[in-house]
Every structure is written in C-alpha cells, then in structure tokens.
Symmetry: C2
Subunit: 246 residues, 2 copies
C-alpha cells in the first residue's frame, strides 16, 4: 500500500460539503467513488485537511489516501480526473511517506471570503461571492479585524459543535482588501472552529456597513458567546485557498 497526497479544487455549489452523508452528493464520496472505480479496490478512504461545509469552494484542498493501485505514475493524474465530474479537479498527485496524514499534519489553513458590494453582480461570479446590497467600508473592516490576530479563545465565532476540546486558535494572517466592487477577507490560522470564517465575515460586514462600531470585535471576543457576533455569512463566498505542511 502506498500513501498518495493530492491537491484539488472544487466548485462547492452542488456539493453538500466534504464529508460523506447518506443520500447527499459530497466531495469525499465522489472522490472515493472515482478512486475505487479507477483502481478496482473495494474501498478507499480519502482523508482531507479538513471538512468544508455545503456550498463552500476549494482551490487548494489537500487530502491523502492509501492504495495498492498499479496505474503508471505518468498516467495517474489524467486517470483520476477522467473518473471525476467537472466540478472537482485534482491538480497534483504524489506518493508521500506512509505517515503523512493530510488532516493531522496540517500546520495552517488559509481561507478567503469574497464579498461583492456593487449594484449588479456578474452572472459569472454570482455563485462565488456574497452580494452585499449596501456599500461596505473595507478600511473600517480591516481596522476592526486587527484584534482577531494572534491567539484567542474564538468561542464567540463558532457555531457550537459537541465535543470540541478547546476553542483557542491562532490566526497567523488576516487581511481585508478591496479591488473595485469586490472585497476579500483572508484568514490563515492553525485551525478553524465550525463556521469561524463565515462568522468573522458576518461580523466584519456588520462593521463595514456602519451597523456596529469598529471596537465591537474586541467586545465580541471577550464575551466568548456566539450570540454576540454577527450572522454567519453565506457559504458561497468562502474558499479554502491553501493548506501548509511542515
């Protein structure tokens, strides 16, 4: 059995997220189905850096799986993609040390949340951003986000999930940028709580539209209470961009 590492993109629009759920189309199940058809093995389990939720996109998801397949290496990438639908693409495949575990070994993940705040959203981008009908003050959002950087208890920014040992995480990079009518929020951390980026986005959007003062983020962090934070921004604006390993 060899251990394979893959980097992949998917358009999350028509997936009920990463993780296999009976009766739903998921990325994990689709990948596992493609790999078992390709290899003839009875069961291949694909282990991602982390689950993404229904509707969330990825341009640099990382996963690994074990297989005894004998497909010649130069044909492997094409063969995997030939078994996948058009909304998942594997960009690279490599054999890696047997110990590599895409989930456990991930040091940091970078997510990007994309907002459009113009009048008419392009029909080509509508599934890949959140449309704010109100103009947002991106500079205020960037200033307001500062207190989130570093190590904090992000309990106010998670949708509760049972059995989570700790809600302390470290944000290593956080930036809010605007180009034209698009704003994107980049958040890189050593780990993410359930809905954490979308709650940060919803909170910063409340600040960007002047509904809350910039100081609100510090108060929300301190409260350690989800009801203090802004709404969970819609999934379609969220992209998993990159996963960093040692």
């Amino acid at each position: 059995m060899a251990n394979f590492k893959i980097i992949l993109s998917y358009d999350g629009t028509e997936f009920k997220g990463w993780q296999t759920q009976p009766g739903h189309r998921t990325v994990q199940e689709t990948l596992e189905g493609a790999l078992t058809r390709l290899t003839g093995e009875s069961r291949i389990r694909v282990n991602a850096s982390g689950r993404t939720d229904a509707g969330v996109h990825a341009v640099g998801q990382v996963a690994n799986f074990h297989s005894a397949m004998t497909v010649p290496f130069y044909k492997l990438l094409g063969a995997i993609n030939a078994h996948l639908p058009n909304d998942i693409v594997v960009h690279s495949v490599e054999e890696i040390t047997p110990e590599f575990d895409a989930n456990r070994d991930a040091l940091r993940k970078l997510y990007r949340y994309v907002i459009f705040d113009g009048t008419t959203v392009s029909p080509f981008l509508r599934k890949y951003c959140c449309h704010s009908r109100q103009r947002l003050d991106a500079a205020a959002m960037a200033r307001a986000a500062e207190p989130l950087k570093g190590q904090h208890d992000f309990h106010s920014f998670e949708t509760e999930w049972p059995n989570r040992a700790s809600s302390v995480r470290t944000i290593t990079h956080l930036a809010v940028n605007r180009a034209g009518e698009y704003i994107w929020i980049d958040v890189e951390a050593d780990g993410f709580l359930y809905n954490m980026v979308r709650t940060i986005a919803g909170t910063l959007m409340n600040i960007g539209r002047g509904f809350w003062p910039e100081s609100m983020v510090t108060e929300i962090l301190r409260a350690e209470d989800r009801v203090q934070a802004g709404p969970t921004a819609p999934a379609q604006g969220l992209f998993l961009i990159r996963v960093t390993y040692a």
Copy 2:
C-alpha cells in the same frame, strides 16, 4: 412610449441562445417576460445587437425596447434585475432617442474566444472556456490570423444560413494572446456570419496544435468554402464582449 437601451451580461450555459424559440429557455424570452411582469404591459419586444447562439456568453450585450412604463428612473435598474434570474444581469439602463435600434445601429462587435490548454481546468472556469488537451502554439496562431484582418469574403468561415445577402465583412481588430494556460482570441468586426468566430477559433486551434501550416488561413479564405476551414469550436468558450455605436 419611450425607447430604452440596456447593457447586459449573461451566463449562456443554461440558455438556448438569445432568440425566442418555443419550448426553450432563451435570453430574449426571459428578458421580455421580466419586463412585462415589471411593467404590466402585454408585450415588450427586446431587440439585441445580434443573436448569440446556445451556450454563448455575453458580458456587454446591448439591446433596446419600447415601453410606456412609469417606474421611477432611480429604481429602474434594481427593479429590472429583481425580475430576472441570476444568470442574466442588466448593468445599465438609459432612455435613448426613439430612432435608436440596437441591431441596425451597431457599428462593430467584439467577441472573445477563450481556450485553456493546461492539464487540469479549474472547476470554476470549465464552463467558460474550451479545453484543448494538446498544448497550442499561440504565437503561430497569432501569425496565422494576420490574413483575416480587413475586408474579405468570409464564406469559408460561416455555417450556411439561408438568405444571407453577402458574406463580405471587415475585421477591424484581431489578436491572439496567452496568459499562463489560457489563450484568448479577440475578433472585432462590423458584422459576423453564423458561427464565424467559432470557425476562426477552430481553424486557429488546428494551426496551434501543428496540424495545419500557418499559411492555411489564406488558402481557406481564398477557397470560399466552409469545408476547408477548421471545426466549429464549442460555444462555451465564446463571449460577446462589447458593441460599439456611433
């Protein structure tokens, strides 16, 4: 009755082209339906700069329509878009002189054909380009395209269409560019024959992959015979970019 000019985008993926056809979802019918629901008028006919075919996209289509509607002007753009599905967006609406006719008055139209020639096409762009499994020589395509510039009989580059008076057209701009694994062919002309851009794209792709010599374009033009040219490239790579008026 006032005459309104609109500029619109649409994702052509789920439309059977511009022109109304019974039993099919078309851009024209969708727009006309939205405008009659908005205005309460019994029939509004939307007249585009030109038809686009099934699956062809537009980022700068222009059309006009006559209406006696009394929607306040500052609300009009939002009101039109509120009646449209997500794959059509009207970017601007203005009242224009009664004589303006988006089709008859168009001086030039610019189309772009987008090709991806890398290994793995992004799931976000798969519907918006033609995927060439072979690497293409874009510089050879650019050189080969030179003889198409200016006024010619483009009969070899049209899918025959009855009652077409003349197949002489003038290409005012033609460029082939590459950025990374994307190649795009821009063609601006005073008018286009049926499938003309897609036939130019299919011909240049045959040259780009070394199947034909660069000199082939001159021979094809001279032949005035469609069977000499390359295949009609798929609709999903084609965008109507801009329409120019006096």
